[in-house]
């Protein structure tokens, strides 16, 4: 899986609207690895300040969303859950739109910050609606309240879309479709740090996920403090995915598709499932983003379009398989 990830990353370094020779790319990379970061040609400029950060960013977002998918599916014990079901998309979209409308884009980190706050506020709201502040959290009510809150937010988003002017409409639409081109190097670093720290925190508890998917009674009797563990996963995972969504916009289907596919290949042990899903999610989004960059080069498609185009047929396939 690590190998696949590396090959895909390398492959997508080569692809782009400006053709750069394989030989050149490897020479530039070798040069950078020896610690020489001076940029001497236009090719290097494209490679290191455009493509590489973007590939890294796509990887981070893909990994974050996939991890989110694995974990939400496990703690909600529902194979259809993903980071967006809990309102992370709706909330951050609304936050971002309000940000764009208020002109936050002229401030550094303005829109992503509002999107992030929107996502967190929504997760909190979903929690409260589900009755999670007192007593145990019933899985279904969390999922239901996520759906309800999301539906309400979509209405609010549509309302805003219908009253804004053209310029704003364009940037909102791009945000809603998912866009990996805007993140700055600093933002990418923040996201990378959150992902790494989050992954370490989550991985130490991975064994507990195996027990929780067996049912809460079972997990409880086998010695897992279920409520605390679920809240821990919910908080850490929400943070990771909220960071990713607030920087990249809404990229659907990654979080829901990758975990299923990985379970088919590697089984359900979360100690294996978490790392392979992160790696595969990263690879998948890098491929999707490369396709988005290349097909209509030099114009770009929003990457969310590509993932959704892959995702919908995949879902039909999954449902067909289930009904047999």
């Amino acid at each position: 899986m690590i190998l696949i990830f590396l090959v895909i990353s390398a492959g997508s370094l080569l692809a782009g609207s400006v053709h750069i020779d394989f030989g050149h790319v490897s020479r530039y990379l070798a040069k950078a690895l020896t610690g020489d970061f001076s940029i001497t040609s236009q090719e290097e400029l494209i490679l290191f300040s455009v493509r590489l950060p973007r590939i890294i960013f796509a990887g981070i977002v893909g990994a974050s969303l996939s991890l989110g998918g694995v974990i939400f599916q496990a703690i909600l014990r529902n194979p259809l859950a993903d980071p967006y079901v809990l309102g992370i998309s709706g909330g951050s979209a609304l936050g971002a739109i309000i940000g764009i409308l208020l002109g936050a884009s002229s401030f550094y980190l303005g829109v992503p910050l509002l999107a992030f706050l929107g996502a967190l506020a929504t997760v909190f709201l979903v929690f409260v609606v589900a009755g999670g502040t007192r007593g145990p959290l019933p899985d279904n009510s969390l999922l239901l309240s996520g759906v309800v809150v999301n539906a309400f937010f979509s209405a609010a988003i549509l309302f805003f879309l219908s009253i804004v002017n053209n310029m704003e409409l364009h940037s909102i639409t791009f945000w809603l479709m998912g866009d990996l081109s805007r993140a700055s190097v600093k933002e990418i670093c923040v996201a990378a740090f959150c992902l790494l720290a989050g992954f370490v925190l989550l991985y130490t508890q991975a064994r507990k996920l195996n027990l929780i998917v067996q049912g809460e009674d079972t997990a409880l009797q086998l010695g897992v403090n279920v409520e605390r563990t679920k809240q821990w996963f919910l908080v850490v995972t929400s943070l990771i995915t909220a960071v990713a969504v607030s920087l990249a916009g809404i990229i659907g289907f990654v979080g829901i598709m990758v975990p299923h596919f990985m379970r088919l290949v590697f089984g359900s042990d979360h100690r294996l499932l978490l790392p392979v899903s992160a790696l595969f999610g990263a690879s998948f989004l890098i491929v999707a983003d490369t396709i988005a960059r290349v097909v209509f080069a030099p114009a770009e498609l929003p990457v969310g379009v590509i993932t959704a185009l892959c995702g919908a047929p995949y879902f039909i396939f999954l449902l067909k398989r289930k009904s047999h």
Binding site: P79, D217, L220, Q221, L222, G223
Partner: protein, 258 residues
């Protein structure tokens, strides 16, 4: 010395009381059956004993300490339960399921080692499940699944084993095998066994003591011959029965009269 003792336990789901003033003590290495009609509180009592539910009033003690004061892991090292059925959403292999029984003995930062695998394989051999260790749990038959869950509980190496109708899906051979295994663990390792069943004869034949629950109260408790009487069965289950004795061991035997 009593390993389990309940003192005046009350419990209700929301507003519906399901357990009223239940007191009992169970000694180490006893085999105890809990019987009673549907909804009489059998499963609830098991959950209170293993500390996944806490009594609203009264005290539930394991080894003299209240269940609410044990950590989940410590209690899981002492008490294991074989549930009626588990819903499986994601595919796990039978061996992985049994391996989960080792959870209370492991910390978060360690993978299972050789010793854990040895315990798991022993448990699977004892329950005749080793043959499908590498098969998916959700593809097994109900009886096979039940044996895997029994193996998981054994892998927990508990001092007290709780069984919630754990023999219903087993065929005769595996039932006999399992009952013999329980006897053996009971004498060799001083395992305390508490089992819930609807099979009056199973309870009468294999339990040292029987607890008869009736709408959340203990209706009768004692040796099989004291509890299994035509009068008790009539009062609690509202059926007529003939109680005679098993010619081999003199234990009570029930036949339904219809």
């Amino acid at each position: 010395m009593s390993i389990i003792s309940a003192e005046n336990i009350n419990f209700s789901y929301a507003t519906k009381p399901v357990m009223e003033n239940v007191s009992l003590t169970i000694d180490k290495a006893q085999i105890v059956a809990i019987i009673g009609p549907n909804g009489s509180g059998k499963t609830t009592l098991l959950k209170i004993i293993n500390g996944t539910l806490f009594p609203d009033a009264g005290q539930m003690l394991i080894d003299g300490k209240e269940t609410s004061r044990w950590s989940r892991k410590d209690i899981a090292q002492k008490v294991a339960i074989v549930p009626q059925e588990t819903a499986v959403i994601f595919p796990f292999y039978a061996e992985e399921i049994v391996l989960m029984g080792r959870f209370p003995h492991l910390n978060n930062y360690r993978f299972e080692d050789k010793k854990d695998y040895r315990i798991v394989h022993e448990a699977m051999e004892k329950t005749d499940t080793i043959a499908f260790a590498a098969r998916r749990f959700d593809e097994l038959s109900a009886g096979e699944r039940q044996r895997v869950l029994i193996a998981r509980a054994l892998a927990q190496e508990p001092k007290v084993l709780l069984l919630d109708e754990s023999t219903v899906f087993l065929d005769l051979k595996h039932q006999a095998q399992f009952l013999a295994l329980l006897r053996q663990l009971n004498t060799a390792q001083q395992l305390t066994v508490i089992f819930v069943t609807h099979d009056i004869n199973l309870a009468a034949q294999h339990a040292d003591r029987i607890i008869l629950l009736y709408s959340g109260k203990i209706y009768a408790i004692g040796k099989p011959a004291e509890v299994i009487t035509a009068a008790n069965i009539k009062e609690v289950y509202d059926v007529d029965s003939l109680i005679d004795q098993n010619p081999q061991n003199g234990l009570p035997r029930m036949t339904l009269l219809t």
